[in-house]
Subunit: 494 residues, 2 copies
Amino acid sequence: MEVQASMRIPLERSGSVPLYAQIGSFLRAAIISGKLPVQTRMPSARRLAGDLGISRMTVEAAYAGLEAEGLVRREMGSGTFVMALAPSPTRSSAEVPESWPQWQQDLIASCASWHDLPVLDVSSVVGEGVIPFESGTGDTRRFPLADFRSIMRSVLQREGKEALDYGETRGYAPLRRTISEILSLHGLQAGADDVLITSGSQQGLALVAQLLLRPGDSVVVERPTYAAALALFRAMGVRIVDVPVDRDGMRVDLLETALQRYHPRLIYTIPNFQNPTGACMSTGRRRSMVALAERYDVAILEDDFVGDLRYEGRAQPPLKALDRTGGVIYVSTFSKMLMPGVRVGFVHADGPVLKLLAGLKRLTDLATSSAFQRTLHRYVSIGRYEAHLRRSRRVYATRRDSMARALERYFPSGSEFDLPCGGLFIWVRLPPRYAAPELLSRAQKAGVGFASGEEFFVERSSGDRFLRLNFAAVTPEEIERGIRSLGKVIAESN
Amino acid sequence: MEVQASMRIPLERSGSVPLYAQIGSFLRAAIISGKLPVQTRMPSARRLAGDLGISRMTVEAAYAGLEAEGLVRREMGSGTFVMALAPSPTRSSAEVPESWPQWQQDLIASCASWHDLPVLDVSSVVGEGVIPFESGTGDTRRFPLADFRSIMRSVLQREGKEALDYGETRGYAPLRRTISEILSLHGLQAGADDVLITSGSQQGLALVAQLLLRPGDSVVVERPTYAAALALFRAMGVRIVDVPVDRDGMRVDLLETALQRYHPRLIYTIPNFQNPTGACMSTGRRRSMVALAERYDVAILEDDFVGDLRYEGRAQPPLKALDRTGGVIYVSTFSKMLMPGVRVGFVHADGPVLKLLAGLKRLTDLATSSAFQRTLHRYVSIGRYEAHLRRSRRVYATRRDSMARALERYFPSGSEFDLPCGGLFIWVRLPPRYAAPELLSRAQKAGVGFASGEEFFVERSSGDRFLRLNFAAVTPEEIERGIRSLGKVIAESN
């Protein structure tokens, strides 16, 4: 279907709402209400601009916004098409009577692209007895709770007043110093003042996105990539340009074209044991990415969420260590290796951007809990963290191998995966006749969870045949039992 | 000075950056670099649009963005003028060499309006011995630390694993239930599922702003208002429309004109013991505001940061209690009354917006620390919080009266203030010949802090003669000594 007649969009030219936003609202409502059905080809920007007597770029800006919200898809050379709306339990339920204010109803439409991604339910209430292959963290059962608890008790006892007052926005200075020492082990020359403590690395990502991006901007991500980063970018109304990942990380040879074409403001990358693929970016590509970003004046956001968890091979330098101009913002966390509820992550950057990120943090939550920072600082500085890491590496490497063997044994022939050199995940591609999303509810009934591949793609259907399996959060016995059950569910689905 | 020649702005019409954003970047750089000096009258939108061959609304959108950043000021009927840049230590210091990437240098310019507001330094490191009249919280020295600590210890002991795991994004359910009971005492019919726990009320404000506002949108605030809310709105690039406050709160009689003229997306109000003025909005105005917001389809963000701290008179209903359509979002906190480092605030709203706020919270920091929520829940439910509140009210009322007496005695004649019925602050206006900002460093040298009025105004110079003085965080002895010193500093400044 194609829009033939010239489109009448009422524009208030003397109001304070920019024209592109007025056009965006009108078309959004038309798509949501079904007046513009799925697959409708929208008028070209040139034509709509002519009809409305406005500039073509204004229409382009409106279309870019709708694309970022997942309402239309632009295909080079063939046009702009209305997309199927993601099924949204919120929108169809009785909770949304006609009587909510219009501004609330508009919100539902404008948030359709991100607000109900299943992976983001971080509730710890997993189904009773379900083997958590879908987990995004290490094994919290192995966390030395007693140690941490007794340190925290002594922090509350000795420093209670300070620990329960507002801390410094940048973070507890001794912990920042400790983090700068950890960073130096990775080849990063950071002082305590070059570090900002955040409430988990998720806050680091959110602050960078909020500081650097505005609706209509473009951001480059890996294909596939971390689902909550995708949702974050969608929520900000930016255009997401995805560049494929292979065994050696992002295909940096394809990056330059994207930079030239989309003038992105940010490149988001997970170079070590990538989420979800487990790929580790080669040193050559790391150098090329840093050089390209410098040449095209684009910021790099380096997410090193499990860089410490290498099981074999030589460590690659962080992108930040190759950056000599202040072009890379490095984000990491303790949440994946310790109790996730500790919620302490950090950002390392050079130049004015770090101070601005701290300023934005003040505006978003003032400061991160000082009590946890003080406890973590003591825990790390008496060597407990390093010892915990060493033990975890040994245990997780064994679990990775158990999972690989179980997959060979129980998954249908034609399933493919690479053995990751570190991290938490094995990324499995099923043979063509299978579809992961359809397996999920059956797997859960059989007592097994997994992260369905579509969560990690801009174009969700590209992930149909993929499963992300966490081998670190589960015991070898659970791996054997869980992969066997999963293999059975897959075989029966055919 | 006026721009006479037609302005040449290079526009890339085939790129992905909207035209209004390109124009904004170009003019921003020209203003920051001084190529367009202070007081320059910019070309009218009509003329610039003609010069560039684009629509007038595109230029208006660019100007609105520059205005929101504090770079230009639009005066109805007379034009758009370049404003003086706020002095920015970051920009002038040696920390910003020419060699930072261009994107970092651009950031400094685009964040100039908000990034170094002094009030937002929440560091607990106050100068040794300085009397903290500038404080934004209750008296943390009166907090029953021992009680809280022993409850927290027992939470870690009995529920350590759950307390240190990711909690539910919406917040610990028993605490949400407890909060809904507290809300019912204020006439709010909220269930546990109508509450979202946040990391302090600052996060509640930030989430609402991020969900509802886009650059170029307008927001209505009170004049004066909470400095960190102003900074938050500035950081988002929205236009801030301020409506004056008198003894009975926001001048709601002036609100309708603003709604008609600016079509704002949000009204931000602090109806109880307003920050900084201490004013309490009359019930009549509360009803009118809710009715107007409904008629004009604008969301209300009600910030009830110290509603519990009433010293006399009858409680007024929260705006949320007068709202029957889901138009009001209610935000509050425990941080002002307990240890600020506890960082637990909450949002109550009806309709889809609450679920969307929870979704956005997941993307910004996943969840608030479960350990603190569990501790707070037990502390509140065994009646300790209510007892602490009762004691605090009694103590703070006495301190308010002490401060009023001290002001009468030590401040220059012609100083004006109203006695607030609750809250934390007295808002003093000095006689015409004094200027508060110039007093600040001398007062600090004399061992006294205060919050300078200009922080609370969109147009900073409007606050020149005002001081915000916290009477709750200081003892009667400190009040007597501090106000005497301050009076002396003021007298000597003349």
